[in-house]
């Protein structure tokens, strides 16, 4: 199985767990569906932490992992990064090539609002994972 798919599966577990998980807990969850080594899970979690999509905190002798943000927040952030490239604020970088750039400023503003709304809802109640 590709490493990317595995990272994706681990993220899904962390998102649905709603609380920080240890490597052992993630491994147990994944092992019910497939054969996978404990060290592989450790490597994947380490990679995710390096990418800063997962937070790592020490608890006694073990590490616990939780998502850095909800899936919706991350997707909104990704879209913002994508559309920010057209709006001109970031036009020094030709990183992404868009199909068409039309009302990018308005789009970006709407997205920022959506992102803010998700963040506000997050702060108001049901906080998943520690901050």
């Amino acid at each position: 199985m590709a490493l990317g798919e595995l990272e994706r599966d681990v993220m899904d577990r962390l998102w649905t767990a709603g609380r920080p998980l240890t490597v052992r807990e993630v491994h147990e969850e994944l092992a019910t569906h497939r054969k996978i080594a404990y060290t592989t899970v450790m490597t994947v979690l380490d990679r995710l932490a390096k990418k800063k999509v997962v937070r790592q905190e020490r608890e006694g002798r073990a590490f616990r992992y939780s998502p850095a943000a909800t899936q919706e927040q991350m997707i909104a952030g990704l879209m913002l990064d994508a559309l920010g490239g057209v709006s001109g604020q970031d036009d020094r970088q030709a990183a992404l090539v868009h199909f068409v750039g039309g009302v990018s400023a308005a789009e970006a503003a709407a997205l920022r609002e959506a992102l803010d709304a998700v963040t506000a809802a997050e702060a108001a109640g049901d906080t998943t994972g520690p901050t």
């Binding site: 990317g4 990272e7 994706r8 993220m11 990418k51 999509v53 899936q71 919706e72 991350m74 997707i75 909104a76 990704l78 879209m79 990064d81 994508a82 559309l83 490239g85 036009d91 020094r92 970088q93 030709a94 990183a95 992404l96 090539v97 868009h98 199909f99 068409v100 750039g101 039309g102 009302v103 990018s104 308005a106 789009e107 709407a110 997205l111 959506a114």
Partner: protein, 321 residues
């Protein structure tokens, strides 16, 4: 005098020539040839600048050791030569430093973006269009708000990214046109061309031509991808997708279509579909393309031959004497 010619050529290639090229409309007929011309003008400008600096330096130091140059040519010309050398050094170092920075930043942002897309894209299909799109290799769909259609180029793997908003608003045929357009960008490595002109603009943002050069090259690249897409999916779906995605969401009466999008749509309407065959219009266009390629070659090679060769020969003479 070589240094002066080089400097004049560099100024010409950095100012009036790109300004005129940005205003030209015939380039829209032959975007590929026009892009080659743009690159050749930019490269020739860089070479001419380098040439001006080197020529001034050799003039200062090759006559005889020490500064007999000052005694022979006077204060004014010595100062001018020194100044040219210095200026060229500054310009050259600045350009390559900025180009390097742009390259590093672009790659870092792309890698990060691709990682995040792979981590966050939607895997479950919800409709028929969806199933077809999700099944294609390198295509990723993002759930959530917003409309986005773009590609992430890179040697470690390309991605074409579409958002749910785009899939909901476009028909299957229009989606096919968008995918064909983005694939054309990736196949032809249009990002490399864009990166070069982005670096040029980032290094000399106050040079008026660098802005219009970047904008024009961007538009030409889009037209090139449009041509590839219309061959695969037809002009009409492509134009519809362009209008749909470039117009403001919500719809408060008037359509706010970006200037570039409108230009591209109008161009799609002007040229008949299936123009790749030998129609009445194909022949003059081919002639235009050949002419533009020839001009591009001359722009790059003629200065080298006319100015650089005599100078190289003199330098060689001096070194081997």
């Amino acid at each position: 005098m070589t240094a002066v010619w080089f400097a004049a050529l560099a100024l010409l290639l950095a100012g009036p020539v790109p300004a005129a090229l940005a205003r030209a409309r015939w380039t829209w007929q032959v975007p590929r040839a026009a892009l080659v011309l743009w690159q050749s003008v930019a490269l020739a400008a860089v070479l001419a600048t380098l040439g001006a600096g080197l020529a001034s330096l050799t003039l200062l130091f090759t006559e005889q050791p020490g500064f007999p140059f000052l005694a022979r040519h006077g204060l004014l010309q010595t100062t001018l030569n020194g100044l040219t050398s210095f200026l060229v050094a500054v310009v050259t170092v600045r350009f390559w430093a900025v180009a390097l920075l742009v390259g590093v930043r672009t790659r870092r942002r792309r890698n990060r973006h691709r990682e995040m897309v792979d981590l966050l894209h939607r895997r479950e299909s919800t409709g028929e269009v969806d199933r077809a799109v999700l099944g294609e290799s390198g295509v990723r769909v993002l759930a959530g708000p917003g409309r986005a259609a773009y590609c992430v180029p890179g040697v470690r793997g390309n991605r074409v990214v579409l958002s749910d908003g785009v899939l909901q608003e476009l028909t299957a045929q229009e989606v096919r046109a968008v995918l064909a357009h983005e694939r054309a960008h990736l196949r032809a490595r249009h990002d490399l061309v864009l990166e070069g002109f982005t670096a040029l603009h980032a290094a000399f943002p106050r040079l008026v031509s660098s802005r219009s050069a970047l904008d024009t090259v961007r538009l030409l690249v889009e037209m090139l991808a449009d041509d590839a897409a219309r061959r695969r999916a037809g002009s009409l779906p492509l134009a519809r997708a362009l209008v749909q995605l470039a117009s403001a969401p919500g719809g408060d009466g008037e359509m706010a279509v970006g200037a570039d999008a409108a230009t591209r749509v109008r161009r799609l309407a002007q040229r008949p579909a299936g123009e790749c065959g030998a129609g009445d219009r194909a022949l003059p266009r081919r002639g235009l393309a050949v002419t533009v390629y020839a001009v591009a070659a001359v722009v790059l090679l003629a200065p080298t031959a006319a100015i650089a060769l005599p100078w190289l020969l003199t330098s060689w003479d001096f070194l081997t004497r």
